[in-house]
């Protein structure tokens, strides 16, 4: 394990050469000291894991309690197609072998058990927690556990509903430096790098963020945000797993839309019906395209790209827009 201030080894410099040229040796050192916990090995998460293991995080811990099945086989490039080899193993267990091979310098382990049974003490070992495909309750619960820790543990959810994806980010209180781009643009380009500014961002929890009254949010806010809130609530009410909806649920979903719009004191048209219909019809992470894209964005968010995402990142493959929505200003 790399200790504080230690130089990158010759091997690391050679392997990570091209990306060190992107984010610098310091960021590479920080990355190699971060420990990442991931729950829910579906296609989007597989993409994400690939990206951060390639980038060279310190360690990656996978939790997954589902056994191997057809869906996992067809969706995941970490799993070679010889099914008999995997009989009885969990998806995570199978994937770690491929991940280890991908970058031998990253320690990859699998953890048995249900994520709800892990306590704060356990999460304290990590710098980043990523959960995917979890219910609204689980999201809130894990998020709160992370927030109670003294140390900053970055909390991310990443979910994919067919062609639409959403990332939520809670970094609690996060300081970083950025270059003054404004100055670059106005200036005579003497120093193309601009001045470095220290920034600090305060992040609210998932619960607080999603409770922001819709009325307060700006008009240009991605419509996808509202639609996903309705569906999330619907699945919670029905006690279903994420993504387990179909066309048959449209009536129930529209009913819930009415209720939520009333609560938020907005017109029903606020949440578009065709969008809802599309989202519930596409139940699985059927397309790997969005997964590839969101996995990439998610990987960038974690590997120290200048501006962190706050609070949501939303992508819809049908219009091709990938937007960052900062909801917390409107609390």
């Amino acid at each position: 394990m790399v200790i504080e201030g230690e130089e990158l080894t010759e091997q690391e410099t050679a392997l990570y050469d091209r990306q060190i040229r992107v984010w610098g040796a310091d960021a590479q050192r920080r990355l190699s000291k971060s420990h990442v916990f991931v729950c829910g090995m579906k296609r989007t998460v597989a993409e994400f894991c690939k990206n951060i293991v390639l980038a060279g995080v310190g360690s990656l811990t996978l939790v997954y309690d589902r056994p191997m099945n057809e869906e996992a086989l067809s969706a995941n490039f970490f799993i070679t197609s010889d099914k008999t080899v995997y009989a009885g193993q969990s998806v995570a267990g199978v994937c770690i072998e491929s991940l280890k091979e991908l970058n031998p310098m990253v320690r990859v382990t699998a953890e048995e058990g249900n994520i709800l049974n892990f306590d704060e003490e356990y999460f304290n070992k990590f710098d980043i927690i990523v959960i995917s495909g979890c219910s609204l309750e689980t999201k809130k619960l894990i998020n709160e556990k992370c927030r109670r820790l003294e140390k900053r543990v970055g909390f991310y959810t990443v979910d994919c509903e067919g062609s639409c994806d959403e990332i939520f980010v809670d970094l609690k209180s996060y300081a970083y430096s950025k270059r003054n781009l404004h100055q670059i643009f106005k200036g005579p380009f003497k120093d193309a790098n601009g001045e470095i500014w220290e920034c600090r961002l305060q992040y609210p929890s998932y619960e607080v963020t999603t409770a922001v009254p819709w009325k307060n949010l700006p008009k240009r806010m991605s419509k996808l945000y509202f639609a996903l809130r309705v569906i999330e609530k619907f699945e919670q009410g029905e006690g279903r797993d994420l993504g387990e909806t179909s066309e048959k649920d449209l009536y129930g979903v529209l009913k819930l839309r009415k209720e939520l719009c009333d609560v938020h004191d907005v017109d029903e048209s606020f949440v578009l019906e065709p969008l809802l219909a599309r989202l519930i019809a596409e139940t699985r992470e059927f397309t790997p395209v969005s997964a590839t894209i969101i996995g990439g964005i998610h990987g960038q968010a974690i590997s120290g790209k200048g501006d962190p995402v706050k609070n949501f990142y939303l992508f819809d493959a049908t219009d091709g827009k990938g937007r960052v929505e900062d909801v917390s200003n409107f609390i």
Partner: protein, 630 residues
């Protein structure tokens, strides 16, 4: 989003991928998982260690093997029942002709250089196959759709050409570190270790009054009685000391510039004591040929971290040690070396020499890591951007296969959100009616027809500017020149003689008003060039001695005009920032929060350093073409 229609669109589809590198690995995986079943992939490269941080289909054990073949095998492991056909070959090979392209429904580019991109663009136009083009650099990337007659072709907008520097900036008045790198790499390194018959401007100084060329020639040759240490020190003193003293004599040059400081070995290493003490492995003559990392001045001197910036003394030691190692361990290479970023000793030598020159001129010094990036034109790269871009390529490919024209998009992957967007789609531009590639518009060439030889025209215009491989040049019905392997000796002799002829001295003289037809049989691409005689050219601004124009107008200077974040506003793109003349590749991303990424480049090379995807970016003209934000 995968409708039944899309599934059937993919089923019978045959896709050609060009490039199995950063974007290629991600793309092949995403295509396979999306349901594409017949994929052909061309890549001439073999796998290197520095690919492994992002080209995730490759492992360390694959280093040295064909990218296309290893990528195929890796994907078939998780998606076995599809057909992937690899070609370990150059996309410019004759086998990949128009008929080859015609068998595909769509071509997807994940390339790393302008030359190959232009070549594929022309073949796609000739074969009438849609092309989806892509590029990334760092966190930035873009995907564009090129469908003949529907959207602009890849060459409808001019691409930023690699930068070349005025000779006197390099030889006499460097003001940036990159100038020192160019000097060290193109002049000093080439002079000492390269082809002796090549012209070299190392001793050209502004003012030019000093030093007879006979004297100069002698200086770089080793003297009979000289040992290697003495030889190295003499070269050092000559280029960093004596030459600077000579340059200082020209008072005019330094009127408005900081005077450089001559540096001699004795000033930096005051006693002989500080001579490098190699770690034993310098003796012995065996040195694995081809293993360029085995000889290193850094390891002889116990310098470990390539990120450190060496002091002048350290640079001096590295310079002398590297010099000595070249003459003791790499003798067989001397006389035919060309700088190679993977040649450790060459990078060390160039870094040290550039830094010593930089100290002389009061320019900040740089680490070996940075110097290597500049000298090797390395395009930086991360896995995530390539993954995102690969996903976007597949989205556009699906639309193209369904002829969903109105939904084609050019998408930019941005580093900083712009109007809240990190992925920004815009409508593609229409074909440029004045494009010399996809329309029939003639070009205009200003040239001195009384002095320029046909050969100069072929090299500087037909090959360098028009990107042709195997050109045929006609003047009316007269065939002036033809390239190719299958010509008989008589024709070769005639063409060779023609290359030496001045344009106005052909039996049918080429002068103002003449029109030349230039054709590339392989690319099935023809263009016409109107000739206009011009007597004088500005040596600094027009170093080719000829100016080609016609397919685009330079955009007038214009204030960038950020839109106010309105959803439907036209996005105005930033103006080309020509103020900073060091950039070979500039990324113009939409206002208002755009950031320019720099690529230090160097020379007259037309090809970017391999392996990474160069974003050849939304171009200069975008800012006054209305781009509709969708």
């Amino acid at each position: 989003m995968v409708s039944q229609k899309e599934v059937s669109a993919m089923k019978g589809t045959k896709v050609l991928m060009v490039g199995a590198g950063g974007i290629g690995c991600e793309l092949l995986k995403t295509l396979a998982l999306s349901g594409f079943e017949d994929i052909h992939i061309i890549d001439m490269d073999t796998i290197e260690v520095s690919n492994l941080n992002r080209q995730f289909l490759f492992r360390k054990s694959h280093v040295g093997q064909s990218k296309a073949k290893v990528a195929r095998d890796a994907v078939l492991r998780f998606k076995p029942n599809i057909s992937i056909t690899p070609y370990h070959a150059n996309v410019k090979d004759n086998t990949f002709d128009v008929d080859f392209y015609k068998q595909f429904n769509v071509v997807l580019n994940g390339l790393d250089n302008l030359d190959a991109r232009r070549h594929v663009n022309r073949l796609c136009l000739a074969a009438d196959v849609p092309l989806i083009e892509s590029g990334t650099t760092g966190f930035l990337g873009q995907v564009t759709v090129h469908v003949k007659g529907k959207t602009e072709c890849y060459e409808c907008q001019p691409k930023t050409a690699p930068k070349s520097y005025p000779v006197c900036t390099i030889t006499s008045t460097p003001s940036k570190f990159v100038h020192c790198i160019v000097w060290a790499k193109e002049l000093l390194f080439a002079k000492l270790y390269g082809d002796k018959n090549q012209d070299n401007d190392l001793n050209v100084r502004s003012g030019g009054a000093s030093g007879s060329s006979d004297h100069v020639e002698d200086v770089f040759e080793r003297k009979a009685d000289e040992d290697i240490e003495q030889y190295g020190r003499r070269i050092y003193d000559h280029v960093f000391g004596y030459n600077i003293e000579i340059a200082l004599e020209n008072k005019e040059t330094w009127k408005n510039r900081t005077r450089p400081r001559p540096i001699y070995v004795r000033d930096v290493l005051p006693d002989q004591l500080s001579q490098p003490q190699p770690n034993g492995h310098v003796d012995g003559s065996e040195c694995a040929v081809g293993d360029l990392s085995s000889v290193s001045a850094m390891s002889s001197l116990s310098l470990k971290n390539p990120q450190d910036i060496w002091s002048l003394m350290e640079n001096t030691k590295v310079f002398l040690e590297a010099f000595k190692l070249f003459f003791t361990k790499r003798q067989e290479d001397i006389g035919n070396l060309v700088f190679d970023k993977d040649d450790q000793l060459a990078v060390e030598f160039v870094t040290a020499a550039a830094n010593i020159r930089a100290s002389s001129f009061g320019i900040p010094l740089h680490s070996l890591f940075e110097a290597k990036g500049i000298a090797g034109n390395i395009i930086h790269a991360v896995a995530t951007t390539n993954a995102i871009i690969a996903g976007l390529i597949v989205i556009e490919a699906m639309k193209v296969l369904q002829n969903d024209e109105k939904n084609y998009r050019t998408t930019y992957c941005l580093e900083h959100p712009t109007q809240n967007m990190l992925l920004m789609p815009v409508e593609p531009s229409e074909p440029n009616k004045a494009c010399y590639v996809c329309s029939e518009s003639p070009l205009l060439l200003e040239i001195n027809t009384n002095r320029t030889k046909l050969g100069d025209f072929v090299e500087k215009i037909v090959k360098a500017k028009l990107g042709m491989n195997l050109p045929i040049i006609m003047h009316g019905s007269v065939l002036l020149y033809e390239a190719g392997d299958d010509l008989d000796d008589d024709m070769v002799a005639i063409y060779t003689a023609n290359l030496e002829k001045v344009l106005s001295q052909f039996p049918t003289p080429i002068t103002s008003g003449s029109m030349l037809t230039v054709e590339d049989m392989q690319q099935e691409f023809t263009c016409k060039i109107n000739i206009k005689h011009r007597e004088e050219f500005d040596e600094e601004k027009e170093p080719d001695g000829m100016v080609l124009s016609g397919w685009t107008q330079a955009p007038p200077p214009k204030e960038s005009n950020p839109s106010n974040g309105e959803n439907k506003a036209n996005t105005s793109l930033s103006e080309p920032l020509n103020a900073d003349s060091d950039d070979e590749v500039e990324v113009y991303v939409p206002e208002p929060v755009a950031k320019k990424r720099k690529h230090s480049d160097i020379t007259k090379e037309t090809e970017e350093e391999e392996e990474d995807e160069l974003v050849v970016l939304p171009d200069a003209n975008l800012d006054f073409k209305k781009k509709k934000l969708v």
